[in-house]
């Protein structure tokens, strides 16, 4: 349906419905009084004239109304909010998940604890096993029926899944996802469409019993109904029944403005009749069921029984019990007056009145109605949040969708947007950021700190969580996407990556100088980078220089690599930021957003298989037709062997470099790759780290870019560690691609050595960069066993 700009919001409209009944009775009475008999012939003539004129006007008027009714009702279409869903959680034997996380996911998906579990949407926990009654749901790749199963979790892993009650083992089950946002139409109406054939029969009959008993037979208006209503109201001494038919009520809400004039009543009646002439009763009733106003959630009007069912009971309409249907039907009379959450007593009385009407008309037996009347309202204490839960992430979703859709379509087309968000990770990330920043402030680093965090799946590039503000409920500036800040040493791994790509010149054991240097800048001034500790460290290996984040060594190396090459490489890794080609770029004088940093490191973490980060997997129409899909696409990086070697080097940052406090913060030992970043005057703190499955970037600083007392390891790394200490994770994948391999080398000289020799460390090399010299100890060992390296070399020579 198309709404004029002057339309009153639905909320106001139907809230008036309760009053409508009284007003109408009054109107009728008044018009009765007004009929005074005509006595003179003059008056007769005048009457005839007027009748003639009005007939002459009436016919075109009816034609006009008829046009309106048919065109609007024919092409009727409600503005439907789009729904944004989190990712559907796949459960399967072997899946890594803690009991606490499964519970979080269930709660966020709107599941309720219940014993016994008897309806879809319920679950219970006994010991280490969850019994879940999964709702029917249309996933992005197909619809699935309701299913009941038991999941047993042991050691943070799904041990098995069995169907209930037959005990059949299931290989795979998934939860319907949490709804994380609705994108509303301008009219701020919330609605879930239902089809007449899917609604409970009691709703159809019950509505008629209460609102319009003669619905089946009347032609749109019902004089008998009006009379009965008037009588009933007189008898009761108050308005208990309305005289408008369902058709009239629909017409009023659908086509007309809401002033209560005689003219409007007149139009309403004619249009109701016209509607009945053109459309079957079932279609009229279906429109009514989807149109009627039944509540208000904040700024959003709840329209139709489908949405009301979710709003009051958090259950789909088809699952409601008679007493619940009775409550909703009762609300037609006045959704705010009988609001069951605000006025439970009134609502209860109204519901029982409706139940009595059910019994009176034989829809329920007396005892059934009696029993239903004694039950409580059963309304959930608060409606499930329909607003946006995760602002930063939804912001990202909107950004991705904006490439394809107009905002207008998102607000009116009832699209289903399937995203990649993992609610349990998102919740943890939010907490990690909020409590982490508070702790930093308590430690006296700086006031007014802000932070951002992005978590993505390494292999698929799917964004699992995003935090854009220390207060996750705030929806303003999203730092994860929009805060462009210098990245400091976060850039260094790329300098070393370029070096490793030059395998003729560099390996991780190549020695470089960490000594003072002075460069002339474009503006004529001199630039002399210094190290964080103020010292120079002489001759160091590439590995040491990277893990300890030495500035002088990095700039020297960078000058050999070329700043333009570095900038090209950043772009190759998926970031298109403009960067000035100055040597300070080697130390991170590049402004990037946390999301862009995540993109760069996703490529590294995935062994050089870049995947554009995505937050949306698919978008479907209301009816389930796929509009767009964002499939997984890989863009392999060149020289992946160098990326493999770099991944190892970054594990050493955590093992013995600037991030060596990380394992202690995590309280766990695992092989993790990471890099800290700090900018001049401690304005920005960065940490980027990845496990086998997740890459996460955290940033801490001040919005005004003032010194904040933060360093990579004293701030952002703490946030990162707080998140990962609550997540099961696995060590990074250090298997080398073709053209790179592991060798035992002497820690000090960098010479090849035997694995049992003193000072032996195992380090990966890009083919062609392996050391040529070997320690005497290696020769000793080779007598006993053919070395791995020898085998390789033998093959190469062949």
């Amino acid at each position: 349906m198309v709404k004029g700009p002057g339309d009153v919001t639905r909320g106001e409209t139907i809230t008036l419905m309760g009053e409508r009944v009284k007003k109408k009775a009054a109107t009728r009475k008044k018009s009765g009084k007004a009929t005074s008999p005509g006595w003179t012939g003059r008056l007769w003539r005048l009457g005839l004239l007027l009748t003639g004129i009005s007939l002459g006007l009436l016919v075109p008027w009816v034609v006009y109304l008829n046009y309106q009714v048919t065109t609007e009702f024919e092409g009727r279409k409600w503005d439907l909010p789009s729904r944004v869903y989190a990712r559907a959680l796949d459960l399967y034997p072997g899946a890594t998940i803690t009991s606490a996380d499964l519970e979080t996911e269930l709660e966020l998906s709107g599941y309720r604890r219940s014993n016994p579990v008897s309806q879809p949407g319920q679950y219970r926990i006994s010991g280490s096993s969850f019994e879940i009654f999964r709702r029917p749901f249309r996933f992005h790749d197909g619809a699935e029926d309701a299913v009941r199963f038991r999941v047993r979790i042991s050691a943070d892993t799904v041990a098995d899944i069995t169907a209930v009650p037959d005990g059949r083992p299931l290989d795979l089950a998934r939860l319907d996802p949490a709804e994380i946002a609705s994108i509303y139409p301008l009219q701020k109406e919330d609605r879930t469409l239902v089809k007449i054939e899917d609604v409970p029969p009691l709703l159809v009959t019950g509505l008629q019993a209460v609102e319009d008993r003669n619905f089946k037979h009347h032609p749109g208006v019902d004089l008998r109904g009006v009379l009965r209503a008037v009588l009933a109201n007189l008898r009761a001494g108050k308005a208990v029944q309305g005289g408008s038919t369902l058709t009239q009520q629909l017409v009023k809400n659908y086509f007309l403005t809401h002033d209560r004039t005689l003219a409007r009543k007149f139009n309403e009646a004619i249009m109701a009749v016209l509607l009945e002439i053109h459309y079957p009763k079932s279609e009229i009733l279906e429109a009514y069921i989807n149109e009627v106003f039944l509540g208000q959630q904040g700024a959003y009007a709840v329209h139709g029984f489908g949405q009301a069912s979710l709003f009051y009971f958090d259950q789909p309409l088809e699952q409601l019990a008679p007493r619940q249907l009775a409550l909703l039907i009762g609300l037609v009379k006045g959704a705010s007056y009988y609001n069951p959450r605000r006025h439970p007593k009134r609502a209860l009385a109204r519901r029982n009145q409706v139940l009595a009407a059910f019994a009176e008309t034989g829809l329920l037996t007396g005892p059934e109605a009696e029993r239903a009347s004694s039950a409580n309202l059963g309304v959930t204490p608060t409606p499930r949040s329909r607003g946006t839960r995760y602002h930063a992430f939804v912001d990202l979703v909107r950004r991705q969708l904006a490439q394809v859709y107009r905002e207008e379509d998102l607000k009116t087309e009832g699209l289903k947007v399937y995203t990649t968000l993992a609610p349990s990770i998102q919740e943890k990330a939010q907490r990690a950021v909020a409590t982490g920043v508070q702790k930093l402030e308590d430690r006296g680093l700086s006031a007014e700190l802000q932070a951002a965090m992005v978590v993505a799946d390494v292999a698929t590039g799917e964004v699992r969580a995003m935090v854009g503000d220390r207060n996750p409920d705030r929806s303003g500036f999203n730092r994860a996407i929009h805060a462009r800040r210098q990245i400091g040493s976060i850039i260094k791994p790329l300098v070393y990556l370029l070096a490793l790509e030059h395998s003729d010149d560099y390996s991780l054991v190549t020695q470089i100088k960490d000594e003072p240097l002075t460069l002339k800048q474009a503006d004529g001034s001199n630039w002399s980078p210094s190290n964080y500790d103020g010292k120079s460290h002489g001759t160091v290996t590439l590995l040491e220089a990277l893990t300890r984040s030495y500035n002088q060594a990095t700039v020297r190396l960078g000058l050999n690599i070329g700043v333009k090459n570095l900038i090209n490489r950043i772009q190759q890794l998926g970031v298109t930021a403009e960067v000035d080609a100055v040597p300070s770029v080697f130390l991170g004088a590049v402004e990037l957003t946390p999301l862009e940093v995540t993109q760069i490191y996703q490529s590294l973490a995935a062994g050089g298989y870049s995947v554009p980060l995505r937050s949306v997997i698919a978008v479907q129409t209301e009816a389930g037709e796929e509009l767009v899909r964002y499939p997984l696409r890989m863009l392999p990086q060149p020289r992946r062997e160098a990326i493999g070697v770099l991944n190892f080097a970054l594990t050493q940052v955590v093992e013995q470099g600037t991030a060596k406090a990380l394992p202690g913060l995590l309280g766990r030992t695992a092989i993790i790759s990471g890099k800290t970043g700090t900018t001049n005057d401690r304005r920005d703190s960065w940490f980027v780290g990845y496990t086998r499955d997740h890459v996460a970037v955290s940033w801490v600083g001040r919005d005004d870019n003032q010194p904040a007392g933060v360093t990579g390891s004293n701030a952002a790394m703490h946030l990162w560690a707080d998140l990962f200490s609550q997540m099961p994770f696995q060590s990074v994948d250090l298997r080398m691609p073709d053209n790179a391999f592991w060798l035992w080398v002497d820690r000090d000289s960098g010479y090849r050595t035997g694995r049992t020799c003193e000072g032996a460390v195992e380090i990966p090399f890009v083919e062609g960069s392996e050391p040529l010299k070997s320690t005497p100890c290696l020769g000793e060992q080779e007598k006993d066993e053919e070395s791995f390296w020898r085998k390789l070399f033998g093959k190469k020579k062949r």
Partner: protein
Amino acid sequence: MVRKSGKPVQSGRYFRLCLAFGAVLLLGACASTPDSGSVPQDREVDARVREPAKQDSEGVQVFPLQNPAVKELLASAGNAESNGDFGQAATLLERALRIQPRDPEILQSMAEVQLQMKDYGQALNFASRSYDVGPRVGEICSRNWRTISVSREHLGDHGGAAEAEQKAMVCMKTKPRSL
């Protein structure tokens, strides 16, 4: 070893011969099992990737343990594929990849689906990823390189295609160095 290394060379020549006769002839001549015929489509993937890889790999087989959930999804994807619904097959494989992102079998299946969707760039990329994380030996290795070869050929890189075909043969002979 001699037996195994000899065979692929023969089949390689055979393929080039077949190519000369065009796709229809190739189908009839190369596919050792006739096409089911229910779905009219280019079965290049069978003729030039799966069948020869299977033939090559007699004796050198790697069967990685598979998660039952992944197995189920692979089977569904296989059904979708044989019904010609490549989009659905890709969606199912993507779901499997969320479960096991480094499973060479899923990645290679995805590469083969991309091949049939004629997205040769992605076919090449998935096959290459499958090789990187896979056993780098045996049938799957052969499928990896044959997919890469076919993709390169479609992308106009004939030198690269020939090189990849050579690599497919090496899959049967040696254990790669980095294992």
